[in-house]
């Protein structure tokens, strides 16, 4: 049933509009938001693989030259899309569930932003049209700004404005890159562009082609929060509500991989493309983790760790072999789940103590043993401890970089994993194990049930992916093999 493919974008988008329009009816909106959120992970599971042409405009074959053109905006749905959209759906459901149970009176605009962001990332990963990608990239940026600005955390407006100003530099630059590509190829459909490049119709050694890569690459750096945007990306995570941050990081990861896959399809003929991606990924790993080690605000620390982990994904894509890209995409999936778990868990601590400074916390294991244990497992998964899911993807990355002939990258990967472990153990010690300071007042003793439920669900996914990675990696590997040939 390929009719379900556009529904993955349309359902959250329509839900967002309806919720925002009828936000006066509190009860109805709550039920409606819950039902829609429940639908989101189910639609991709039911849908068949295939492509969808908007407006039904099937590809046209030029009879004289035998060239295939795609006149319509095309969505292509395959195994990686299914798994990533499903995961974002699950996460959106959990986040909306936490939000609905946390507040008795729901805010229509906030739910609007959550659903709009989900629709935007879904469209980003489905689309086969480079301008469509740009439009949803902008919508996603606006939704992220809204999610940050809507939180009641200190300095959230400032951070939202900073993110937006940087974004309004990044996105016109990306548009300019798309313009260069359009000037050379005359089309915005990626399959057509790839065919044009493969047939040698345009010269891939022309400076224009390199310039378009440079400009789109800069936009990608902004979307994914690699350096020089690592500070702002970790900043917006720390200024959003914890459940919002859990969703924001999944938006970041998915926009990162969807844009990088598009760039990979177009630019992988250029050797410099892989050099650039590896360079910025290594920088992200080093800067993210070393800055995370020095943070005292634990939300900011998780933010920097999340940015550092993005480097692993970039590394996998940058190495460019089938195994490495599979490892990178698998790492992306793991990161979405693990970082969401950490954000929600630490959010539960903020909820209970009203304190974000690790120096003023301590002895929380006595009052919150469940959250503590689950956070510990999540942190171990992020650092790559077997048998959790982070271990599998990082092991694959190490093997991939060894088999590509870059042992330095393997060493770096392992070092960054160890440093991640140090960050996590340090924070866990000072928050949970150290004796409780006298002036710490635990405001609200119990953690919301919904948060515990969300953490348990995410933990089950982490352990399951750690024990049975083949379920995901085989499908991704097939997709990547198809993309490379």
């Amino acid at each position: 049933m390929n009719e379900l493919i556009p529904l993955m974008v349309i359902v959250p988008m329509m839900a967002a509009l309806l919720i925002s329009a009828f936000s006066k009816f509190d009860k109805v909106i709550k039920v409606f938001a819950f039902v829609v959120a429940l639908c989101l992970p189910i639609i991709p599971l039911l849908s068949n693989y295939g492509v969808h042409y908007f407006g039904g405009y099937a590809p046209i074959v030029d009879n004289i030259t035998n060239i295939l053109y795609h006149p319509a905006i095309t969505y292509s749905f395959n195994f990686p899309q299914q798994i990533f959209i499903g995961m974002v759906g699950i996460l959106t459901f959990l986040v909306v569930f936490i939000y609905l149970t946390k507040y008795t009176k729901v805010s229509g605009p906030y739910l609007f932003l959550l659903f709009m962001g989900t629709a935007a990332v879904t469209a980003l990963i489905l689309t086969d049209d480079i301008f469509h990608m740009f439009v949803f990239f902008e919508i996603l940026a606006l939704a992220q700004v809204g999610i940050v600005a809507a939180s009641s955390i200190d300095y959230s407006y400032e951070m939202a404005l900073k993110y937006m100003i940087l974004g309004s530099i990044g996105s016109p630059i990306m548009l300019l890159g798309i313009g260069f590509l359009l000037a050379m190829t005359g089309t915005v459909n990626i399959t057509d562009i790839v065919a044009i490049i493969r047939d040698g119709i345009i010269s891939t050694s022309s400076p224009m082609f390199f310039l378009s890569l440079a400009l789109i690459f800069f936009g990608w750096l902004y979307a994914s929060g690699l350096p020089p945007f690592h500070t702002i990306k970790s900043g917006i995570y720390s200024k959003a509500e914890p459940h919002g941050a859990a969703l924001l990081q999944s938006f970041t990861v998915i926009s990162m991989i969807s844009i990088v896959i598009i760039m990979f399809r177009i630019y992988s003929v250029l050797p410099i493309f892989e050099v650039l991606i590896v360079l910025f990924s290594v920088l992200a790993m080093i800067l993210g983790v070393s800055l995370a080690l020095t943070q005292t605000d634990f939300r900011r620390m998780i933010g920097f760790l999340a940015v550092g982990e993005l480097g692993f994904i970039g590394l996998g894509i940058g190495l460019g072999t089938q195994y490495a890209i599979t490892a990178g995409l698998f790492q992306a999936l793991n990161e979405i789940v693990i970082t969401a778990l950490l954000f929600i868990g630490f959010g539960a601590i903020v909820n209970a103590t009203n304190e974000v400074d690790t120096r003023k916390l301590g002895g929380l294991l006595a009052s919150h043993p469940k959250v503590g244990i689950m956070l510990l497992i999540g942190g171990l998964a992020m650092a790559g401890v077997p048998p959790l899911s982070g271990f599998q993807s990082k092991l694959m990355l190490v093997q991939a970089s060894l088999s590509c002939g870059y042992p330095e990258l393997s060493i770096l990967t392992i070092m960054v994993s160890i440093a991640t472990f140090v960050v996590f153990v340090k924070t866990f010690y000072s928050m949970f194990l150290r004796p409780k300071p006298h002036d710490l007042e635990v405001v609200d003793k119990d953690v919301p049930r919904a948060m515990i439920f969300a953490m348990v669900v995410l933990l089950i996914i982490i352990v399951a992916l750690g024990i049975f990675p083949d379920v995901v990696t085989n499908g991704i590997s097939n997709f990547v093999g198809g993309m490379l040939h």
Binding site: F131, V135, E138, L142, V145, A149, D154, Y155, Y157, E158, M159, A160, L161, K162, M164, I165, G167, S168, I169, P172, I173, L175, L176, I178, G179, L182, A183, G186, T187, V188, D297, R300
Partner: protein
Amino acid sequence: MAHTQLAVLFTSVALIVIGLYAAIFVDNIIKKIIGISFIEEGANLFIVGIGYKPGGIVPILMPGMNSTWFASNASYPLPYGLVLTSIVIGASTLAVMLALVMVLYRRYGTLSTSVMLADTSHQEEYDE
């Protein structure tokens, strides 16, 4: 005639450079936002310049027109469609940024970026 196209590309590059200059060196936040809107306009102008065919005609096919003549003379309409979207996106981001500035002005009483959007990671207290 092709000179016009080249001049348009130079104008768009000039607008982008002006915008980037404003983003770094201008301190007033509203001027910074104006400068950033010039980057957007420059990118739009560039994309329209791609579609422009010097000495061509507007890409509207009227009934009774010879389609071969039209195809060889009309400028390329796809970039124009893209620019339409981009203009509206630019205006909406501008509006959101200005709204955030208005909220923040009430708190700080100044439009200076180095005061309003300075480093906040070491601030302990948050005064309403």
